[in-house]
Amino acid sequence: MEKVRTVTLYALVLCATFYTGLGVFFIICPFDQHFDTLTFVKYWQIVDGYMGKRMPIFGIIWLSTFVINFIVFFKTWRVSPIFWIIVVCFCLLIADMSFTGKEQIPINQYIQSLDMKNLTSEQLAKLQGFRDQTNRNFGVRDYFQKGIFILMSITPYLLARLNQKMALKSIPQ
């Protein structure tokens, strides 16, 4: 069981890292802020075209890894904070997903539906507002992502203590 816990937790840490990295890039390099609105729309259509297809796959892998870890660590909820860290991270992920679904996906869908060659001035004004909203949304999402990553990367250090406690528990008194 020790080995299973190690492998599943390792997979979860990897997923958390990749997920955070997606957001960190935009924090280190907020290049879209230097684009004019039209270039931003062109760029966003490409980015969302990729992300719209790939994130659902990554999302399923990410959520499955969480579920597996819930099962593997469920019995340890009294002896180690790892289970509770996983629960908190899962809640943060769900919060991030629902925030994205509510605030960002409608913007993405609107941008994808635009015909770049026939943009009206009304659409351009709306786009500017959506662009500011997108920046704010990614600022909020960054908090969720960093929270998940910082918490998850503590868990491998707590695993040894948990394994020790579980081994002691399994010794007949």
Binding site: Y10, G21, I28, P30, S153, I154, L159
Partner: protein
Amino acid sequence: MQNIIPSIRKISLYLLLVLVGLYAGLHFNHKMCPVETQLNPIDYAKYWKIVDGTFMHERMAIMGPGMSIIFLITILLFIKNWRSWVFLFLVLAFIAFALDISFTLREQLPINAFINELDLKNITIQQTQQLTESQAKSIANFDKRFVHAMLSFLTLSMTPFFLPQLNKKVA
């Protein structure tokens, strides 16, 4: 002092793991969303001038040496235990990271310098041709860098799992 060292090691390893993790994440983002493969050479140059010229060149110039220093400090902290799994994975992670740095300096920086110097309003046919080649080369370079960054992170993220074993042996 003997009691403090395991804690310092843990903190240093944690810090390194976070940095290398974020670095690998940056490359993962690029792999998930390779925008530049969809841009024509001129749009690519505009995009790259902002990405590299405005942000990455300056910021990675801090992050790169910072990560190298923390890598070296962590390796030094574990050097007494050079026969351990932790040390082995740490060194492997550092080799992958060093490979990435030298590859970037050799293969990518000249491309970045070329693009940053371009005057896109007065670009010649020869320069456009060179730009197209640079775009293709840069895309290939980032595919290789993704492998380096992943190797570095995958090996480094094994170390916390072997740390208790090492601490037990040392104790």
